[in-house]
Symmetry: C2
């Protein structure tokens, strides 16, 4: 496709071109079945095979130990903000939250509607420019889990290392899902929206430690129960067929690229390329977040003035570098460089940045 | 597409071929944007326009008055089983449920986890073979709503007329959504999964009377709140982009066919064709449900023996008539003839039925 643009959208976002090509090719008549995959019963052989392979491949690629199951739910990370406390907090147990930015704040607020929760660390005073060190996280008695947001999509920060805590971790990994290795023994549950690294919007992937399921709440509606979804292979009710199918294609693409190790290596290389360009611009471009917590997925940066930012955004778009605008709540620029963004896209961006700086001195 | 089969699946199910063709054609490069629609930010111009048009067209096609909004959620009807009582039942209000079969039963059970609910009528003793008359529905004091399942997908029954009740109705219309006119003044809320008449799996469409939103609960997680979704045009969090897009194409197809009136007329004609074939088979084919409550979407029928049913299912499939097996919980046969099933598909089925009967006397 000659017209294809470099898409730096924060999500939904760029996907591997070969997955789109395959989906297009088999869209109307899936493998000679005489119908589209999206027209088939989810209880039929074709889709059950896809769902099974996707569950297995998700665990394999993410290097999850056999103690975990992969669930394919709906409602985004936002529904998980409620489901986590609904399932895990009962009998007086409390949920601790690292308030690291916009998403963590939302997780904490929603959880408060469904259980007793508290901020174990709060980055608000420092404008969410970094993640906490282990010894800054203050846990109270009877804490069931410590909730972290591995990467803040809007703030552009991430946990460089998984925190050490005396309680299990629950991780919202929406925006750096399957881009880095996980220290699985620390986690009871990991969740995230698919629409960054995993596929199109419309699915939430949850990795849950199976041993915790019997202690999950059972006095909530069945869609809200992890144990029900796990026992039914995420087919308790009609699953998001197309999103699971696309995730399957993306997982196979990840595998063909070298799996999680390759995703991690590429993320490091791409983000380093971009941060270097920022750091070597004599302050023309400026990344406000703490260096050691810089996101490898969402690179936020400012220009010398809002007028220059506006011009930068207009000209970058004209040059085929799309969706570089920062989130409406913080302004500035943001380049989201998820797994499917090729290094060539980042190089095109750094090339443009240098040229723009040259043509538009501060 | 020469190979296209007649697909009688109960959902996900057959979709209008022209919607699949259009989706395929513009899948990789949406309207020259240089990326797929599923790669685009949901806050960008392309998708916002689709979402807006889809909201408007859904109301228009369904003939909903301006007092209603259309919401595009996730989690299927099953999540609505919990969301309805979570939002509507507070301050001691109770929810009444018509227990008309498998889906109503699920709605009632889930609702019981989130509010005080009761069965205002129960069809279990009659094996769910009919819907209640108005005077059989027994409401208690302080009832906020009467929940009905307009069409039971598994049992193959429907409400021939919308019930009259002294409280607002809440309707699960998953399996006859937009196939019949609605008496809007009776309803506060209508919901249903998209994966029958509206598009692929992965979206729940909710029509809500706007005036009830300020009395919906606000002490629940934000994804669970109707008021939040309504205030944000279903874009509070990332919506199911692809499902909304496909719904948009299906709505345009409905409009091109003559809108809701045409869907209703076609449903009557197709179901009459099929029930006539059953009724005129001298008892070879037998529909167990009460005549006046026969579904126009899911036609259930039995053959003289389970052995003949097995043969019927094998041979119909070989003849390109797919997914005629009844739900695993009830057995027998079921032909789901949703909006997108052409009359030609039904005629092919009735032709096959006559031939099968001829070749396989009881």
């Amino acid at each position: 496709m000659n017209n294809r643009k470099h898409n730096f959208s924060a999500g939904p976002c760029t996907l591997p071109l070969e997955t789109l090509q395959q989906a297009q090719e088999e869209f109307i008549d899936y493998h000679g079945a005489g119908m589209s995959l999206i027209e088939m019963s989810h209880r039929g052989g074709h889709f059950e095979e896809i769902a099974k392979q996707t569950r297995e491949l998700a665990l394999e690629i993410f290097q999850a130990p056999k103690e975990f199951s992969a669930l394919f739910l709906q409602g985004g990370a936002t529904l998980q903000f409620a489901m986590v406390p609904m399932n895990l907090l009962h009998g007086g147990a409390r949920g601790a939250y690292v308030n690291s930015g916009a998403w963590a704040k939302g997780a904490l607020a929603d959880a408060g509607m469904h259980g007793e929760v508290y901020a174990a660390w709060d980055g608000a005073d420092e404008k969410y420019m970094r993640m906490p060190a282990d010894d800054e996280i203050q846990l109270r008695d009877n804490t069931r889990y410590l909730h972290i947001t591995s990467n803040e999509t809007i703030g552009g920060i991430r946990f460089p290392e998984w925190p050490n805590a005396p309680v299990p971790l629950v991780g919202d990994m929406s925006s750096d899902y399957m881009s880095r290795e996980v220290d699985w023994k620390k986690f009871d549950l990991i969740y995230g929206g698919a629409q960054k690294n995993l596929g199109p919007a419309g699915m939430t992937v949850v990795f849950v430690r199976k041993s915790i399921l019997e202690n999950c709440s059972q006095n909530i509606g069945r869609y809200l129960r992890y144990d029900i979804h796990e026992a039914n292979g995420s087919m308790f009710n009609t699953p998001p067929v197309f999103a699971i199918y696309m995730f399957h294609l993306v997982l196979r693409w990840m595998k063909s690229q070298g799996g999680l190790a390759a995703m991690q290596r590429n993320a490091a290389e791409k983000s380093e390329t971009l941060y270097s360009a920022i750091d070597q611009s004599d302050g023309y471009y400026n990344c406000p977040v703490a260096r050691e917590c810089r996101s490898q997925m969402n690179v936020v940066f400012r220009l010398p003035s809002e007028a220059l930012e506006k011009k930068f955004l207009a000209e970058s778009e004209a040059a085929g570098l799309m969706h570089l605008k920062g989130h409406r709540s913080v302004g500035g620029c943001r380049a989201s460089i998820y797994n499917a963004m090729p290094l060539a896209g980042v190089s095109a961006l750094t090339g443009f940045m240098a040229e723009f700086q040259h043509n538009n001195p501060a």
